[in-house]
């Protein structure tokens, strides 16, 4: 009992010194006299900036606890909290979100990824009603959500830049289309596994409304066909990352449209797109040559010389394809893929850096990037540690 009192007095004196140092100028004479007199310091008067700095260093559960300490702290944290993650919640995420969203109205980043599906429509509707500044929302694996959530989000959070609804298999394409009509600022969209939501109609809407889209994940959305991807390629020229893993209906026409419409593409995933043939590879290679010729006409030189030149001066945006996944695309032949590797110096097959993934394509094992070829010649005799 006495030890507690001692510790309390230590804390009090530390706090007093802190308050003098930080908030001294704001105190009235009366309050200063009270503190000097040894009365209990006003914990709730800690300056908002200091409180938020402390909150930024602790975990999310502590932040939520802190917001319930007193009205002063609730208001301070509510006004200042911009990032929150509730992925650690195992059981009552839905109820917690319903109680927290009205308090934390300035949230910009909210991560509600679940291991067990807990979130329901009413929680998302509350978020949409109060958190209008939301830019980054992760609702992945929320199996229980229905279209009502998407429509509410569309109306309530028009500033969304990054949205992850992967695994939310109950959404329909109509609701996704509705969302894109309102959220034109979207840059990163993850629809992996949203089989019903990602349809050609939805892709058409995305191409029409989300001009600034940079990253789109359409993994395992096997309802989409060339029609949707062509319209997407036409409408989103800034696309950098596109994952069409498992989209089995895609053919060369989609890749050709992407090659022509999206010059900044850095990562393309075509895992299990077994209709892809050499035509697609050549179109990507040729579009690269065309793009380089247009952007730097004076320094364009044929084949190997230009490769080394571009590697030296190339800016980050103009690197071209950095990563390509053509696993299980068994119709491809080595000459076509080699031509592709030659046009994109950032595509590697060397150990440690390899970004061309050819799992299951036995015939493509002879394709090499330029550095692999050089390394092979140099270190042929010494035994070495494989990467």
């Amino acid at each position: 009992m006495s030890k507690d009192r001692l510790r309390n007095e230590d804390l009090n004196s530390c706090f007093e010194k802190l308050m003098m140092a930080v908030g001294g100028s704001r105190r009235t004479d009366e309050e200063r006299v009270e503190m000097e007199g040894g009365a209990t310091p006003a914990w709730e008067d800690i300056p908002m900036e200091l409180l938020l700095k402390v909150m930024s260093l602790v975990d999310d559960r502590t932040v939520i606890l802190a917001s319930g300490v007193c009205t002063g702290w609730r208001d301070a944290i509510g006004l200042g909290l911009t990032h929150l993650s509730l992925v650690w919640m195992k059981k009552n995420m839905n109820n917690l979100v319903i109680s927290l969203a009205p308090k934390f109205t300035k949230l910009q980043t909210l991560n509600l990824r679940q291991d067990k599906p807990q979130l329901e429509d009413d929680a998302v509707e509350v978020i949409a009603r109060y958190c209008h500044d939301l830019q980054d929302l992760d609702l992945s694996k929320s199996f229980k959500l229905t279209d009502g959530s998407l429509r509410a989000l569309a109306r309530g959070c028009p500033n969304l830049i990054k949205l992850n609804i992967s695994g939310c298999s109950a959404f329909s394409d109509g609701a996704l289309e509705y969302l894109t009509n309102f959220c034109g600022k979207l840059k990163i969209l993850n629809l992996c596994g949203c089989v019903q939501a990602a349809s050609d109609k939805a892709l058409q809407a995305i191409g029409r409304n989300c001009r600034w889209l940079q990253s789109l994940n359409l993994g395992w959305c096997d309802n989409i066909s060339d029609d949707g991807v062509v319209r997407l390629a036409f409408g989103c020229p800034h696309l950098r990352v596109l994952d069409l893993c498992g989209c089995v209906r895609i053919t060369d026409d989609s890749v050709i449209a992407l090659a022509n419409g999206c010059p900044y593409l850095t990562s393309l995933g075509l895992y299990y797109c077994q209709n892809i043939t050499d035509r697609a590879m050549y179109s990507l290679a040729h579009s690269r040559i065309k793009h380089r010729a247009l952007s730097a006409p004076s320094t364009w030189q044929p084949s190997s010389v230009s490769l080394s030149a571009s590697r030296k001066k190339g800016g980050d945006d103009d690197e071209g394809l950095r990563s390509l996944n053509i696993s299980q695309c068994t119709a491809l032949t080595p000459p076509a893929v080699q031509a592709l590797c030659d046009s994109f110096p950032a595509l590697h097959t060397c150990p440690g850096r390899h970004s061309l993934i050819i799992s299951g394509c036995l015939s493509l094992t002879s394709v090499h990037c330029a550095c692999a070829f050089q390394a092979g010649r140099l270190s042929s005799r010494r035994p070495h540690l494989a990467h």
């Binding site: 291991d115 390899h354 799992s359 299951g360 036995l362 015939s363 094992t365 002879s366 540690l385 494989a386």
Partner: protein, 106 residues
């Protein structure tokens, strides 16, 4: 802690040292010394032993055994040279026997 989905890995069965990515598997229908084996384009954290000529089911090859870098167990081999034209595609690739590796986290 947030559950993050990472790359699918294969590990050494003895010490769980990561040796390969699933993305690098080229073919699953190869035969090792005792069990089935995978042909991979890349392997990591393995040491390569001395080269030797060996007569395999598909002909004469120059291969080098690969050892786990942590526990030194033999996990398979690397094809250094193939003497028949039809087998040239294997050069530079790795064989890992399924009895010596385990799936990590998937």
């Amino acid at each position: 802690m947030a559950e993050l989905v990472g790359p699918r890995l294969y590990s050494c069965c003895h010490c769980r040292n990561h040796v390969a990515l699933h993305d690098d598997v080229i073919s699953k229908s190869f035969q090792g010394r005792n069990s089935r084996a995978f042909l991979l384009s890349h392997a990591m954290n393995v040491m390569i032993g001395p080269k030797e000529n060996r007569q395999l089911m598909t002909g004469l090859h120059t291969i080098a055994d690969i050892y786990c870098s942590d526990c030194n167990h033999v996990l398979g081999w690397k094809y250094e040279r193939a003497y028949e034209e039809t087998q040239k595609y294997k050069e530079g690739k790795f064989i890992l026997e399924t009895s010596k590796i385990v799936k990590e986290n998937w």
